[in-house]
């Protein structure tokens, strides 16, 4: 599905937005109105970059729909993927409150809609609404904790364990299904778990040969969760 550049900015009602409960649950009606009027909703097609590391931070962004990856490009030019997240889990790069520029890049793995609210407005709301501030701290903390936790889970495993972990993550956390379409290339899995793409492919092939998964291109089926969980645990 291609997205026309003219549809980049559109409006809907914030009052009924399902995400209002996540971040803006403690705002009064008037403030919700204020947010609603000044915000911009932007659509990004699969593969598009939402922001680059080094870009000036102007907006507080959260994901309304789609799937994104947060990543950093090393000086050698390869990507380190920090996290892959969906709406309701992802809010924003936490550096927005203490830095001028983004540390990490963000791009869309699926067609995505991002809601952008001026960071100045968020600051203002924090200043005058304690409940909003307290809730926001909690949401931001959760986002960071998820990233840290993911990194710990990955770094303690070997190649097979990492891949099993990632497949289970996609299956259980993102798609809630035993069958799903991988939203990423083999290379991107490699960039997420810090292994070579050749070995990611090899391991997926071995899983297929051993009946741990059925796969066809990016379609993955997990016939027996327990087997994969065993590999994830002992790897």
């Amino acid at each position: 599905m291609k997205i026309d550049i003219n549809t980049r900015k559109k409006k809907c009602s914030c009052m009924s937005c399902e995400l209002r409960n996540l971040v803006f649950s403690f705002l009064e009606e008037a403030d919700v109105q204020l947010v609603c009027e000044t915000r911009e909703e932007k659509s990004f097609a699969k593969g598009e970059i939402i922001h680059h590391e080094g870009d000036m931070i102007r907006d507080f962004k959260y994901l309304k729909s789609g799937l994104v990856k947060l990543y950093k490009t090393t000086s050698e030019g390869d990507e380190q993927i920090i996290t892959i997240t969906r709406p309701f889990e992802f809010v924003s790069n936490t550096s927005i409150f203490h830095e001028e520029k983004y540390r990490y890049s963000l791009s869309a793995l699926e067609d995505s809609i991002v809601c952008c609210i001026r960071i100045d407005l968020i600051r203002e709301l924090i200043l005058r609404n304690g409940k909003f501030a307290l809730n926001l701290i909690s949401v931001l903390a959760r986002t960071s904790e998820n990233i840290i936790s993911l990194s710990l889970e990955i770094r303690k495993r070997n190649l097979a364990g990492r891949i099993a972990y990632v497949l289970l993550y996609f299956s259980k956390e993102l798609y809630h299904s035993r069958i799903f379409e991988l939203p990423v290339s083999r290379k991107e899995i490699a960039d997420l778990i810090s292994m070579s793409s050749a070995n990611v492919i090899r391991t997926l092939s071995e899983f297929r040969r051993d009946g741990i998964i059925n796969s066809n291109g990016r379609t993955i089926e997990i016939p027996d969760m327990n087997k994969l969980e065993m590999i994830s645990m002992r790897g």
Copy 2:
């Protein structure tokens, strides 16, 4: 230096505390007084555990002096060190605002003093003081970003690069000196960079043989920063 258990709780004036500027710069005098009256200052000897993962969270903690490590114990029983920090950089595990129990353990690498403020009081201050909240968000975000950044720096390097990076971190960030005492065992370095302790030792020996460092037990001297930086960059 041994610390008597009776000195665990002591008081000093918060008004003049150098850390007031970091976290409590936007409190009014009366609130600083309130914090000062209810807080507890606890001393921990080198090696003591400040809290275990799984402990109930009651306090907002920050480090007044000393050096601590934040870590997680895996189901196999080995430690993954998340970060090693000093005062002025470290504030607290960010899970305090959205979880009941600590996710990670914290222990003292050097004799340390931790200032403990009831989390309820911090919440109250957030609710009624927007500037305090905004500043706190910024400090918490910085803490998380440092952890994420460290993990990215480590995971993109090989063994020698990781060790060079860690030595430079100790030298430049923690001790601001070309000569310093390692605050951690070889095994703890291994737990920080996710490598085996035997290979950490081997690499340090090689660095010594090659004149990259001079070392005697835990004393490390870096005769030529550039050499180590070269290894850190290309590794």
